[in-house]
Structure formats: structure tokens, C-alpha cells
Symmetry: C2
Subunit: 416 residues, 2 copies
Amino acid sequence: MQKLTIGLFGFGVVGEGIFEVLNNTPSLCATIKKICILHPDKKRKAPGELFTSDREEILCDPEINVIVELIDDAEAALDITRAALSKGKAVVSANKKMIAEHLEELLVLQKKYGVPFLYEAAVCGSVPVIRNLEEYYDNDMLKGIRGIVNGSTNFMLSRMNAGGVSYADALCEAQQAGFAESDPTLDVSGRDALNKLVILLLHAYGTRTEPHKLLCRGISLLHPSDSVVAGERGWRIKLVATALKLKCGKVAAFVLPEFVRNPDPLFQVQNEFNGVLIESQLADQQFLFGKGAGRYPTSSAVLSDIAALRYDYRYEYRKLSSGLTPSLTQDLYLKIYVGFNSWNEVNKWDFETISEFHSTADRQYLVGTIHLEKLRNAEWFHDGSAPVILMPEGIIEKRAVLEHSLKKISLQLAGV
Amino acid sequence: MQKLTIGLFGFGVVGEGIFEVLNNTPSLCATIKKICILHPDKKRKAPGELFTSDREEILCDPEINVIVELIDDAEAALDITRAALSKGKAVVSANKKMIAEHLEELLVLQKKYGVPFLYEAAVCGSVPVIRNLEEYYDNDMLKGIRGIVNGSTNFMLSRMNAGGVSYADALCEAQQAGFAESDPTLDVSGRDALNKLVILLLHAYGTRTEPHKLLCRGISLLHPSDSVVAGERGWRIKLVATALKLKCGKVAAFVLPEFVRNPDPLFQVQNEFNGVLIESQLADQQFLFGKGAGRYPTSSAVLSDIAALRYDYRYEYRKLSSGLTPSLTQDLYLKIYVGFNSWNEVNKWDFETISEFHSTADRQYLVGTIHLEKLRNAEWFHDGSAPVILMPEGIIEKRAVLEHSLKKISLQLAGV
């Protein structure tokens, strides 16, 4: 077994947690030699001689063979990762933004320098989803993945679903409870979930993409009346990252708020928890559930990667090199709920069919089926304020199905 | 990557499934060279020249480097495994009975001959619990595992919990649906779950034991009125295998029917599904859920092991060799429900305290706290017919807690 000498970048709550556990677990054979921080004058819970603000002191130390990178800044993290891999040092990272946005380069670097780059903590914290996809579904025909992969927004939605709590209050509560960043934009816009989806696509199907190429909507436009509709039907609104292999062999992937029903396992994923539902031809449904964020869950995932490095574990990206990698498609239909106050917030002619329309004094909503590409390009969607929520079983692969089942209802509603 | 030439023992539904997938997945680089069966005259869904009824034809073939053993008979399976390992052939098995009952010998054989022996399919079918415990919780302080690990009994309990279905009818339904063996004794007695618990203990804590050393009760004594009690309180009866690290550092382990409440993740595990809840100091709760048995889930797990052999994966049993392996203890208290028709079916003086007693014209039940060792040795328990069900939060580590909280109630009830 390899002895690991670690250079740590960042010493926030996760860094502290890891320092603590490594000190108390000599069996891990891993020691932190140096910690690089931005503010050397801040008081720290570790001996002063461990700290430096000069990153070269770590990167140029030949004794250090593992870099654990836990800093917020995705660009600085990329620089560090580049430098470390090129010097033959293994890297453990939790930075989903860096990984999702620089997937290609990071794959090239790993291949070129032949050193492990592990990032289990980047997706769903303590839920070992990456390693399971990498190791376990190798032989299995993966139908799809649906995941609640962002703990902050799930905490907020749990509060909003329970009723009475507005988006603004839920955000405030999440921040007070330590589940949301002071700048929550990445979380509430869905972009954090999207970054994780990009990483999941790579390990699930070997499919490489960039975040901006996928349909993404967060939770910031949700209206209290949407929770009321969910409540009336016994549903819950969840922010779900979906990757689904269609019958044509291509993969659809997007992040959208979704109405989730019991007994969908995602229905039970509440508060700051994460859950990933994996459907495969052989194993049927599998569900992984656990804490997605926070000091100890993230530390736990990082430590697992460190432990795996002792026996030189690395992702082999077998699906990527299999030659059977499915490509992405935007050619499918979504059955969605749209809430609005007036018809100028949505263009009804974008829909193939409208199957429900409800109007009260306060608020209106429709349920309709729309082509994914049309939704993505619709001005009312990308610049507007109408909440869009995927309906249960809302993914429809073929137009023929629509025409058959929904045309009649649509015609009746054409007058709305 | 290694090329795998497989000798298969057994060609039931799982064997057929594996043959089918290997044929359709050339990227696995694994071919079945020979299949050993008991009844050579039976019609098979594979070319006749593949079959033999002479096991030496497989075991003595130097080209065959992997044995996949899928036969029912635990003794024959052990003979085959012994012979294969001693000839340097890797073995993949799904036989939990063989593994649990011959753990020590199998560990010695693996060490002696240095070949991989994988058995993910032996516990929870498609749920990758062994490999997760082996790989992922290495650095993590594991508090405990609670699992629904037997699909047949969970199917039956789901029918019985829903009300109106008796034990006998539920068993009949399970057999018709193909979820129970024609001889269901291993399942309904809890012994199948117990075998799996023995394997889980090894990979969770490195703790070795034998099935007969642990407290075990199945579902065959459950009475329709027990489901009524569960229903009244909004609970469900589940057969749960528990391994729990106590504050003293030792591990308690047993299989018992248990009243499970929402939002315990095990509450949602219905029908033939399995679920394992892992609690650890860092990662908090993690939950793995999926199909535990049947053709494809079991095939999926076996295929994962085959896929892992390509890169020479083996269990490293790191917790076993860590020197930190906790020992087992029977020194704890259980809060249990006992149903009965008359007081001669249970000895109330065995209980430390009795906190509830209910009596109707048809049936009586008590809820009381009892030392695990006393329960295990009680004649009314091991030879009697009174159903025993663990209460929610029914594990009590210290007698002091009991005395403080329950003595008063107990005194009032002493006259019952």
C-alpha cells in the first residue's frame, strides 16, 4: 500500500474535517504535509507551521504525492489541478464547476500524465454515485438516472412544499441553517445540479458534453401557488437532474423542477438529503440516498478518494473508450406545467397540445406538451418569469403518441 | 485487461441470463467455455456441446480461469469452490449459505492461493452493498447497518401488512409470483437473512462469526393481529438484519421482525425489493435500494463480479486485517412486542420491565424490555409460538436507562 503525503488547498469546514480525521486515523497511512490558504493571518485549528500562502511550496515539493483541492474558485482550482497532474501528483477534488466546465481538458491531462484524478465529493457528497456508476453498471444496460443532486435547493423545496413558506423565506432559512451559500445563484438557478449532471453523464454513459448545451431551469421562479397545486394532488416539487436513454439509442439530459409522486423514491428525499435513482435493464431500479453536502458528508467522500489512492485506484472511463458511447439528443417532448398571471407570459402556440388549463382569480396554469428544443428556444422560457415544472411521467419520446392521445383534449382547449 | 474463460456451474434462470448477456456483450471479453449441469438430458437454451455433467472437465481445464458457481447445494458449491481456488481459478458465487457457514475456510483458501473470490450476488442481489462496504466505508466510522435483505419475506410482509392476507396465503402468493422457493424454510425462518448478515458483518466491521451464534427469528410465527397493531400505529412489520456498533465498541447483530415507521427509509422498501441503511459518523445516513433477487438482478450482480475480474479486482478485507476489528456482544436490551393467546406462551418474569399490555377477547400482546441473551435462551422464545417483533428504537444499550424510565410503568403492570 502506498504512503500518501498530502498537500491541501483550502482550509474551510471540509479541510478542517479531513485534517481532523487523518490525524485520528493512522491506519489510513496519509498525512497532510502542507496547507495552502489565501488568508495567512486568519486563526486556524491546526499548527501554524503547516500553513503557507505560496502554492509552489506544495506543487514543487517532490515528497507530496497527493493534492487535495477544496477551494471555491473554479479557475484557481483548475490551475492547481493542471500543475499537480503535470507533476505526476494525484488530485482529489470536490469542485464540480471546474470539472463540468473543463471535462475535456481534464480527461486529456489524466491520460497524458497517467495519474489518478478522483472527485467523488463533487456529486452528491457522501452518496457514492460516481464510483458505483464507474464500477458497477459497467456491464449493465443503463436506462436512466434521475437525481436530486443539490441539497440547498432540496432543503428549500421541502420547506416550500410543506406550505406557507415563500421562496424568499425558504432561501433565508437555508442560509441560516448553513445549507446555502451567501451567493446562492449557482444552486437556485439549477446550474450546480447541471454541473453534476454533466459529470454523471460521463460516468453513466461515457457521454461528454458541456453544461450550456443542456436544458436547465432552477427553482427561483417557483410561485407559492405551484406548491398548492402539488399539495392538492399529493405531489412534491423537486429539482431533478435527468439522463435518459431513449429508444433511439441517444441520451436526453436536462435539469428541471419536477412534480414527484409517491412511491417514486425521490418523493421521500427531503431537506438537505440527496438521492439518485438508477434504472438499468438487469438490476431494475436502484436507489442511492444520503447527505449531499456539509462538512462531514463531503469530508467522507474526499476521504474515500484518499483511501482509494492508497491502492492506486483511478477512474478508468471504460464507457468512454468502449466505442458504444451514446450521443445526446434534444429531440423529444416534455409534458410540463406552466404557471402564470397573464397569457403574455407564455406562448400557447409553442405547445403540441394543451391537456389542462386552470384559472382562478389569482393565478392560472396550463399543462401541455412541448418539444424540448422549442421550449429551450422559447423567449418566454429563457427570459420570462413563468415557472415550468415537468409533469410525472412527462417525458414523451415520439410525437405519434401525442397525436393519438391528446389531440382531442387539445382541440377543446384551443379556445382558451 | 484480462481475457476471461468461464466454467459455469448450474444453468437455472440466473445461469441462462448470464449466458445471454455475455453472448451479447463482446466488450466484456468473457466467454463461457463449459457448463456443468446435474441433468444432462434436460432441454437447454444453449448449444449442446457446451454442457457436461463431469465437473472435472471444467476444474481440470487449464484454459478456464474463472469459475461461476450458481448451484443451490451449499456443500457441492463448497467442494467446487475449494477445488477451483486451489487450482488458481477465480471464483464468482451467489451462494450465501455456503459463504456464511464456511467463512473461515474460504478466507484461508483465498489467502493461501491468492486468487479472487467474489460474491456480490450473495447479498441483496443487484444492490452493490458488499463492494460499497468494502471500498467506501473504509475510512468511515460505521455506526450500524439495518437491512431488508430477503426479498421473498419482504414480499410476503408487504401483502400481510396491507391487511387481510394471512401468512399462508402470502406464502402461496410469493411462490406463485416466483419470489419464494418451493421449500421456503430458509427464507421464512430468517436464516437466509442471517447468512447475509454474517457476510455483511465481515465487510462492514471485519467481524467474523457463525450464523448459529446470532439471535435470529423469521416471520413464520406472525399472527394477523400483529399486522392490525402495526396498521393502527401507522407502522409496517419488516424482517430486518441489524448490525450495530455500541458505545462500548462492540457490535450487536441479529435478525428479527421489526416495527418500522415512516420516515425510516426501510418503511418504503416494499414487495420483493431490498434496502440497506448504513449509518456512519461522517456520511450520516446512506441508503441503498434495489431488487434483491430474481433472474436479472442476480445476473447483474454476478456480471459485475465477472467485469471486475477483468482488472483483477479482489476483496481486500482491510477491516479484517486492520487490528481494529470489533468483537460481538450479546450484552444489550431489546424492547420487543410479544403477541400471545395465553400467558403460558410467554414468561413475563424474563422481562426487565413491561411498558404496555393489551388484551382483547381474541388476543393479547405486551411490549417489554428484555436482555438479548435472556430472550435467546428463553424456552418460550426458541421453542414457542409467540410472535416477537422489535419495537421502533428498540435497542437499549444500558440497564440504567431502563431503570430510570420504565420502572414505574413496570410496577403498575406487575399484576397482569
